[in-house]
């Protein structure tokens, strides 16, 4: 009798289809952490962008599987000869999910919102190069003069100097078209009530439980999205996600737990369900250069030598390669000749001696609280113990971790990772290691005048070969200064059920939901 009750309870969940009609194709996902934000001005992490790119549109976007710029709302664009003026021509058939047509003014509003210091957007830095941005930010002008909208479907950006990769910055969700009236209505709560012009609209977001998207009836691409909706349950830990995937409660498994990975790869039927991509990501240990003991470069170099990165890769079942520098291998501008720091515990101890490193300070290592993070952190703890450094583990949830490391003089030692936003070294070196990003993404609070100068120089160069050479010089200084322990460039593996089609992995962005279809409705 109990069995029948339990079976019926299980059936109820899916025949319910999360409130969608039974024949609808609903993609079911799960994740450990809740999505930090759906506000395109605020979200700056993989989870937020996964949904923002579904709900909002930008002028240009990357292809499903590449990092070339393709049209989205802009059908075409051109730049001036010196690379400081960019003109975009917009489609006229794009609408927000509330029915209102999208015009150039909506992009202007969205970008101005990011530039406005009051929004506290982490993407501010990318648009400072637009003429008039500083005046607008200082509230001396009501608008950014450099963003011109001569007619509803033309958008002109005048920059204060050449920026050859500026269009890439418009492919980030920061530069989405945002409806002014909705932002003004909801104010700070906009993230919970987002309205965009993307393929999907937000149907429901119960914090800590789930996010539900449904098709945007006004989406301008005919035939897309093919899904009727997307449901992501949050707060589901890695092990539970695995179990749900096995029992077909979710359709895609975004992170295969280390404990199951060897089993998956050894089992042909499961291996066939996996997809992988070399991410354009660097995982690193940030060392706060403004806080002792990391204000001494010898200590930072010692830590680099003390940690066995090949062991870390083995702990995650070989899903990665050792990082020798800041830039990952698939990033244009990567230099295969940088050496980085090999595992050398003797050298580490010698350097720590020289630096008179205090013994047993019980250094806390902050890291994202999940199974993989725990194992990597323990391995790092082991290695540092051999070098005479005792480290205490401090697992923290992802959102609070990001907040904590951004405060100055707060966290000395933490594990983090950076995935490329656009295919250029600027996205790593300037965003993570320039003084201008203190309190934003430069969580090691590192700064060096020579590096700063080189970064400023490189950003203006449009001859890519010369540009990469200058960035390379900067990178080499950074490697010698070692604000980070350069750990790994991970390879991401996901699994998807056989009935999930066109789940396409992009080297630099989360997989888009638009092309995905399911060959059996989840209403069964």
């Amino acid at each position: 009798m109990m069995m029948t009750v339990v079976i019926f309870a299980g059936c109820q969940q899916s025949s319910d289809n999360f409130g969608f009609p039974p024949s609808a194709m609903v993609l079911r996902l799960a994740s450990n952490d809740d999505v930090p934000s759906l506000d395109p001005a605020a979200g700056y992490d993989t989870a937020s962008w996964t949904f923002e790119q579904a709900i909002f549109d930008t002028l240009v976007r990357y292809g499903d599987a590449d990092v070339e710029l393709h049209p989205e709302v802009a059908t075409s664009w051109e730049s001036s000869a010196d690379g400081s003026v960019f003109t975009f021509h917009l489609r006229n058939d794009v609408r927000f999910s509330n029915g209102r047509p999208v015009t150039a003014a909506d992009f202007k509003f969205g970008i101005e919102r990011v530039i406005d210091p009051a929004t506290l957007s982490k993407g501010m830095e990318y648009y400072q190069g637009i003429a008039g941005a500083a005046e607008f930010a200082a509230h001396r002008k009501p608008h950014v003069d450099g963003i011109e909208t001569p007619d509803p479907y033309t958008l002109i950006f005048r920059l204060s100097g050449p920026d050859p990769i500026f269009p890439h910055k418009l492919a980030m969700p920061f530069a989405s078209a945002v409806p002014r009236e909705v932002v003004e209505k909801w104010g700070e709560d906009f993230s919970r009530h987002v309205v965009g012009s993307g393929a999907f609209k937000l149907r429901e977001w119960i914090g800590g439980q789930r996010i539900v998207l449904e098709k945007n009836p006004y989406y301008y691409v005919k035939g897309q999205p093919r899904l009727g909706g997307v449901v992501e349950q949050v707060g589901v830990n890695a092990e539970l996600q695995w179990l749900k995937f096995e029992s077909s409660e979710i359709d895609v498994l975004e992170a295969i737990p280390p404990s199951e990975f060897p089993y998956v790869m050894k089992t042909p039927a499961l291996r066939a369900l996996t997809l992988n991509k070399s991410t354009v990501t660097t995982e690193y240990l940030g060392m706060n250069c403004q806080m002792p003991p990391f204000d001494d470069v010898r200590v930072r170099q010692a830590f680099n030598c003390a940690i066995d990165k090949q062991k870390l890769i083995a702990v995650i079942n070989g899903r990665g390669i050792m990082a020798r520098g800041v830039l990952p291998p698939n990033l244009p501008g990567y230099d295969p000749d940088v050496r980085g720091y090999d595992y050398d515990p003797a050298k580490a101890r010698a350097l720590l001696e020289q630096a008179h490193f205090p013994h047993d300070p019980k250094l806390p290592l902050w890291f994202r609280a999940d199974q993989t993070g725990e194992m990597l952190a323990e391995s790092i703890q082991q290695d540092l113990a051999l070098a005479g450094v005792s480290v205490a583990l401090k697992p923290v949830a992802w959102g609070p971790l990001l907040e904590a490391i951004r405060q100055p003089k707060n966290v000395q030692f933490f594990m983090s990772a950076w995935e490329a936003d656009f295919p250029d070294p600027e996205n790593f070196l300037s965003v993570l290691l320039s003084r201008k990003q203190f309190g934003s993404n430069n969580d090691a609070f590192y700064t060096d005048p020579a590096v700063e100068a080189l970064l400023g120089q490189a950003a203006l160069v449009s001859d890519m070969k010369k540009r990469y050479a200058i960035y390379d010089q900067a990178q080499r200084i950074v490697i010698a200064d070692a604000p980070w322990v350069f750990l790994i460039h991970p390879v991401q593996y996901v699994m998807r059920k056989p009935w999930v089609h066109d789940f396409i992995m992009n080297p630099m962005r989360p997989t888009r939901f638009e092309p995905i279809s399911l060959s059996q409705p989840t209403g069964d």
Partner: protein
């Protein structure tokens, strides 16, 4: 006439002694350093073999060595926490039983309040506040476990204080503290010892539970509870990782229970 020791007592005592020996001699007995990787089994634990009799975990550490060193922590916490429990519980129980009246009333109501608080949850909350370390765990476990000792000691102390020899001593003018320590306590002692033995199995389990929840002694110190927690995710591919620490906890709890009940039965004869 000295009664013959019964089987339970003897076995229990032997098991406890073996645990103590293992804990004391851990550095000699353990074949490897429990915190270092000694095998290349990262992400893919190895099953038991001649080289590693209990296998290795996902970070390359020898399970046997970790179990042996785990005994140190388990006993340390179990026994020290019991000492804290005893101190609080005996003090309260003796005072309540001996002085009676208002003192008894207040102390027992306080005990009742403590009994209403769920032990494990209270322990979790306190450890979260104090931060996980050996010292805070000892104190916390001690704080949540004293109530049963207090009650039993109170009952014994109550009956003791009505006995003739205590009445006699009181009539002769012996002050209360002297009465308690010289007359009541020695007679309550056997009960206390039994409760201590039985209680240690409880504190051991509580420590394992806290470690399992991540609130125990922090890594890299090996503790049986935490070993089980780390092993749950591998249960399907490497069940030995959770089984051996589980067996160790089982053995330790059984040891103290046998000892306690054995002594109890002995006295009851």
């Amino acid at each position: 006439m000295k009664a013959r020791a019964n089987a339970m007592e003897v076995i229990g005592a032997a098991m406890v002694a073996s645990l103590v020996l293992v804990a004391l001699l851990a550095p000699i007995l353990a074949p490897h350093d429990p915190t270092r990787a000694v095998a290349n089994s990262f992400g893919d634990p190895w099953p038991p073999s001649w080289r590693f009799p209990l296998g290795t975990d996902a970070l390359g550490r020898d399970v046997l060595s970790r179990i042996i060193f785990g005994a140190q922590i388990s006993l340390e916490v179990g026994i020290a926490a019991m000492a804290v429990t005893m101190t609080i519980g005996v003090a309260i129980g003796l005072s309540a039983g001996f002085f009676g009246g208002k003192v008894d009333f207040i102390l027992m109501r306080f005990t009742d309040v403590m009994l209403t608080l769920p032990g494990l949850l209270l322990a979790m909350a306190l450890v979260s506040v104090l931060g996980p370390s050996i010292r805070s765990i000892l104190i916390v476990i001690g704080i949540v476990s004293w109530t049963s000792i207090a009650r039993v000691v109170r009952a014994e102390a109550l009956s003791m204080s009505q006995r003739d020899f205590v009445m006699a001593a009181r009539t002769l003018g012996a002050p209360s503290p002297r009465l308690i320590t010289r007359h009541v306590l020695p007679n309550v002692a056997p009960t206390i010892i039994v409760m201590a033995a039985l209680g240690t199995s409880g504190t051991l389990l509580l420590d394992a539970a806290l470690s399992f929840l991540g609130l125990g002694v922090p890594p890299p110190t090996p503790s049986w509870g935490r070993m089980i927690e780390e092993a749950t995710i591998y249960f399907r591919v490497a069940p030995w990782l959770a089984t051996f620490p589980g067996l160790a906890i089982f053995y330790a709890v059984l040891a103290f229970n046998l000892l306690g009940y054995g002594v109890l039965r002995q006295r009851a004869r």
